[in-house]
Amino acid sequence: MPIIYYLGDLLSEKIGISTSASRGLIKLSIKEEFGPFKLISDIRLKDYQDSINNSLKLRLQDLKISNIEEIVDLLLKELITLQSLIIMEKI
């Protein structure tokens, strides 16, 4: 999922963990938000927004990351900018 790759790279850069770990964290947040039965490929823009705003934010708080609001805002902003990827990668 290119959008997860892209956001994962950004998160990795912001909190200083590996890209595979940051992508894993995003995927985990999506699973947490929507349960294990919703495929990542079925996730839509609003679902990504909810996952970042809710479960990813909580995960970052648990990991005691600083500047969480700034990181979440940046991820949401990039997500909105690249929203078309959600369609382009799926068709």
């Binding site: 963990i17 770990a21 894993g24 900018t81």
Partner: protein, 267 residues
Amino acid sequence: MQLTVVINYSLQVVWIVLQLIVATFLSFKAIKTKRYNLIPLILFFLISSLRIIFIVIFPSLLIIFIIMIQFPNILLVIFTKLTFFKYKKSPFKAFLIILIIVRFIDFVIRLYFQISIPMTYILPESNLIYYHYILFSIGISYLLSHFWLGIVALKYYNTIKSANIEPWIKKRYQIIGLGSLIYGFSILIYYFIPYDVIDISSYPNIIYSYLILSFTIFYSLCMYFAWIMPKWLKKLFNKEFQEFLEKEFEENELLELIKKELSERTQ
């Protein structure tokens, strides 16, 4: 039947079939993937192609045809908004309002003065302003729909060009962008068609008609390859792409890894 007319009809069939295939393919994909923002694009291809079939079968129902031609550009603008600018500032509302007003006046003029390009009857000089309005209407419609989509798609292609994303996805943006922009430029041809030469098969209208058809086929091919990208083409674009197979972590394993990486960072 004249050879030129046969060629003209054959070329029409090519782009109509291409656009119908794209519309059918996208309809299946929209249902399967629940990507309902594809609906305006599906309707754009459907109405654009079916209106020609409609007028050939029902030439007397001209009013329905004139209604049909008002919608495709509006639908394309809605698709661009839903795909690229959801929850984001854009000129969408202004474009939509302009298009609705321009196309409504277009509808009224076509209905009352039977204006078409090329003309099907000798237009009195006093009504020339209406012919120019139809030219303006086509121009503004292409500008706000095809040009807008083309520029936006190419802008996003440039944004993701260096990102670690499969090249075929990047190419999809590029093909949509270039195809839409080049097709948008074909609007200029309409301005060369003389208003006082009637019938599509007479000179020079036939030349302009072939040119417009060539651009339409080119655009339809671009949309075909962009949306229904065959596997061989995807493989070709991805030839030098190293796919990164990522390890799928269990929750505990992942959190341990992140904690370890964060503590290493602070040390």
